[in-house]
Amino acid sequence: MSRIMPLRATLVFIAAFLFGCGRPDSDSIRLTGWIASPIEENLTRTFIDTFEQRHPGLPVRYEPITANYMDKLLLMLATGTAPDVVMIEAFWIPLLVEYDVLLPLDGFLARDPGFFPDDFEPMLLDAFRSNGALYGLPKDYSTLALYFNPAMFDEAGLAEPPRTWEEFAEYARRLTRDTDGDGSVDQYGYSHAEDLEYSLPFVWQNRGEYLDAQGRAAFGEPAFAEALGFLQRMKTDGIAVMPSDVGAAWNMDAFGRRRVAMAISGLWAANFLNETHAGTPYRTALLPAGKKAASVAFVAGYAVPKRTRNPDRAWQLLRYLTGREGGRIWVKSDVGLPARRSIALESKIERDPLKRVFLQSLDHARIWQFRVNQRVLDETQSALQAIFLTGAAVQPTLDDLKRRVERGGRFHADVRGHESQSRSGPPR
């Protein structure tokens, strides 16, 4: 008998250890999110402290995911191990609704008169709606705007940022210079990023679409190709570069290293410039417009997984995270603008020379959100790499992309038999 005892003790220990791994104290509300910046992280911690002070008996357990956020969150949602409240980009709402892993929030809103959902920018709230039900609440957002280097503009004799495509190309030409006189160009007009979201404003400005109203591929249409052609020509003309051409990690890195005079990005880039390239002067302006003005809006918010153990407690945290009081904490964020109008007014975003540009861009912005298979987006990314990195001809590359993704027969859904149910096309 006595020889068995250590065995039993060992087993008990191992069992306790294994259970301890997966089972957090059941009292606390689990919250997850990505970490966009050190300021964001501090705000989240402040936020949790404030929440816990106001809600004794509702402890919060913060479990941030530091890398590959969606890879990990999707697996957690699929296996029912996701935290009670999850930070989520509006981009993923169509897919997650299709997978049926999010809790509709309409019931909570109806029972909670003090929450004021009408205070949200309507388009940001709609980004979390699908088939009439609400699956998340917006926290903050950023649109894309044009960053430009005022010192370089001065040197080139330019006073104002470009307002049209023509001015954009013309200014880029004047800003492309050999600054040290060694015979090779070392300052370019513009740095483009090959990701879809940075070409989309130009596509939309040209009245083109990525997907049509029925959610079918529209990237084979001439308007799409024209916009990409315009951008590709700037590169072949030697007035625009890809970040890697100048040894930069991404387009704002090229801007920060003073290798380019203009680049497109969101509010988060200001934080990056201040921290990493503090010596580089910058200002922001609305994107130059084509046939019409257009920009992309990235919306971040919070949602509650369907399989949460305690929806009511999750709602308590969610309503605080996205409520007015929470909004007053988030407003100090350097990666996004407040989703609530009252907070934007209160904090005088209109008068902030940097932030107001991103606010104004919202008037003509569309949400970064597509109801399309991730594989299609990855194939699109490869096609854009071919166009912008290897100089492949635009129209044939897009035709080939259309053929590839349509042949797969799984354009929208990851699951067979769901093609016919495609309903929501692009936002708005």
Binding site: A78, T79, Y99, G247, S382, T390, V415
Partner: protein, 305 residues
């Protein structure tokens, strides 16, 4: 385990039965943590792959539809799958001979009585025990446009490209990294092989007046055959499974230039949530590795002559 047990529990000692039993139980007890972990995380999933491959398996849905061979049929029409297959083939054909040859040369070199032999042995082996994530990040710096490699090239007046950012060079650059990181490991294998060749053979050959080349050709090479088989087999399997460096450095891009089979499988499962389809691709990869290993068994016989 089996050796120890069979020695004690040989057929000629029936009287030991109870003790033998007890020892077997003890052995299994001590092995059980390893066995449980292995079955749970290796053998189980391995067998499960062959089931999942015939289903439309999406983690988000409770029901899984049996598809028969539909996943395999779909693979035959998937251009990306063939791109991955082609990239993987190029990778294996490039990396395996290069790493084997380099490992052999390194082993021959550090097997000589050269000064600082211990230092060189350790230096060549360090890449093998360094985390692949770390080496990937170091090589991202070496390969970047303003990186170390291009700096060296610029000393010779060559303007180097952005190695990982260019579809033309990305795969080759990652192949070179892998040749560098694995040859140290295989060097140790060759070194062990070299040292197991009896010195008396070399002595006898020298007395018979055999040239260094003849000694290498007729003593070293045949003596290394079992090691060579081991190195080539592990090299082929490892190369077919290349993933970490691709995931860290290029994410399969640019323009799918570095999408290998294992990366394709990973994406199909964990990005597109098509576990059945991914499993089908994994079965194909398994079949390819099995076939190639068998073929190479015919070419490089493991037994010493």
């Amino acid at each position: 385990m089996s050796e120890a047990m069979s020695r004690k529990a040989g057929p000629g000692r029936p009287a030991d039965m109870p003790e033998r039993h007890r020892e077997a139980w003890a052995a299994f007890f001590f092995l059980s943590p390893g066995l449980v972990v292995l079955s749970l995380f290796v053998f189980g999933p391995l067998v499960f792959i062959f089931v999942v491959a015939f289903f439309d398996w999406n983690l988000f849905r409770p029901e899984q539809h049996f598809l028969g061979v539909a996943n395999f049929v779909e693979l035959t029409g998937d251009e990306l799958f063939f791109t991955a297959l082609r990239n993987t083939t190029v990778y294996v054909l490039g990396v395996v001979p290069a790493q084997t040859l380099l490992a052999l040369l390194l082993a021959l070199a550090v097997n000589q009585n050269i000064p600082a032999r211990g230092f060189f042995r350790a230096a060549f082996y360090i890449p093998a025990i360094t985390s692949s994530v770390v080496t990937s990040i170091i090589f991202l710096w070496i390969y970047s446009k303003p990186g170390l490699l291009n700096y060296v090239l610029s000393q010779f007046g060559i303007v180097g490209p952005d190695w990982i950012g260019s579809p033309k060079y990305a795969l080759g650059a990652i192949m070179a990294l892998n040749v560098w990181s694995t040859s140290g490991y295989f060097m140790v294998a060759f070194l062990a092989g070299l040292q197991s060749i009896p010195a008396s053979l070399y002595e006898a050959a020298r007395i018979d007046g055999a040239s260094p080349w003849a000694r290498f050709r007729h003593i070293t090479v045949p003596g290394l055959k079992p090691t060579l088989f081991f190195v080539v087999t592990l090299g082929i399997i490892g190369s077919f499974q290349v993933f970490d460096q691709i995931y860290m450095m290029s994410a399969g891009g640019p323009v799918n230039a570095t999408t290998t089979l294992s990366y394709f499988i990973y994406n199909s499962a964990f990005r597109y949530f098509r576990f059945g389809y991914a499993a089908a691709a994994a079965v194909v990869l398994f079949a390819v590795i099995l076939l190639v290993t068998r073929m190479q068994r015919k070419i490089v016989r493991p037994e010493a002559p």
